[in-house]
């Protein structure tokens, strides 16, 4: 299955991209996606091992299962206000 990873702010600057499609085995979780990306080496290995992530615009635990077409946003520490 394919999910859409999104990168914001410092993560976007780090990776040089706003987002990319990632293929994952069925049943993969948020943690599996993070591992897949970090396994690609630099610059992806500079992502935190347990980043805050939102799945379809809701904060999600690393154990959450992903589904085809999910939008998975990597959320750097927030600084609104």
């Amino acid at each position: 299955m394919s999910v859409q990873a999104l990168f914001f702010a410092a993560y976007r600057d780090l990776l040089g991209t706003k987002g990319l499609a990632v293929d994952l085995p069925a049943g993969a979780t948020v943690a599996d996606l993070v591992a897949e990306l970090r396994g690609r080496g630099a610059p992806f290995d500079a992502l935190p091992a347990e980043p805050a992530v939102a799945v379809n615009r809701t904060y999600a635990h690393s154990s959450e299962a992903l589904h085809a077409g999910d939008e998975v946003a990597f959320i750097p520490p927030v600084a609104g206000g």
Binding site: F8, D13, A65, P77, A79, G81
Partner: protein, 154 residues
């Protein structure tokens, strides 16, 4: 009526304030977050705010609704701006009204504290010396049992 918005244009705080107030309300509170000229002692010339807009808008509304629920008033309005801001420009405006003042202060404070904790917004400080840096932020809290709930909802 509860109002929550992420905007690109300058915030007219009067418009935010005018969204609250009711005949039963004795207290009105307006909070403005403003870009200031320094950060941790470093002179700042401006600030760029970015958001994950598709998520920021519903999170901001959720925060406003939680604040309203705490005090039993639906007079909560919050607007957060994104884009390039100069010193002195308003980045966030929060207006609340309620029958008594304690609730108004409580709700106002709740909104700004929750924004700082979990609104997907980031800011890059532009320093007077020409450099710029993402402001160190807060890791948003994530609830534990999201998976099961989400499965059921599908």
């Amino acid at each position: 009526m509860i109002h929550a918005a992420v905007v690109h244009d300058p915030i007219a705080h009067e418009d935010v304030l005018s969204r609250v107030g009711a005949e039963q309300d004795g207290a009105v509170l307006l909070f403005l977050g403003v870009v200031r000229d320094h950060a941790d002692g470093r002179p700042v010339s401006g600030m760029r705010y970015e958001s994950y807009e598709e998520m920021a808008t519903p999170v901001l509304r959720e925060i406003a609704e939680e604040a309203a629920g705490r005090i039993g008033s639906d007079r909560v309005a919050v607007v957060h701006r994104v884009g390039e801001l100069d010193i002195g420009e308003v980045s966030v405006a929060i207006a609340v009204s309620s029958p008594h003042r304690a609730e108004a202060y409580d709700a106002s404070r709740y909104v700004i504290e929750e924004i700082k904790k979990r609104l997907p917004v980031w800011k890059k400080e532009h320093y007077v010396d020409g450099t710029q840096e993402w402001v160190a932020g807060t890791v948003p809290p994530v609830r534990e049992p999201a998976s099961a709930t989400r499965e059921n909802a599908r």
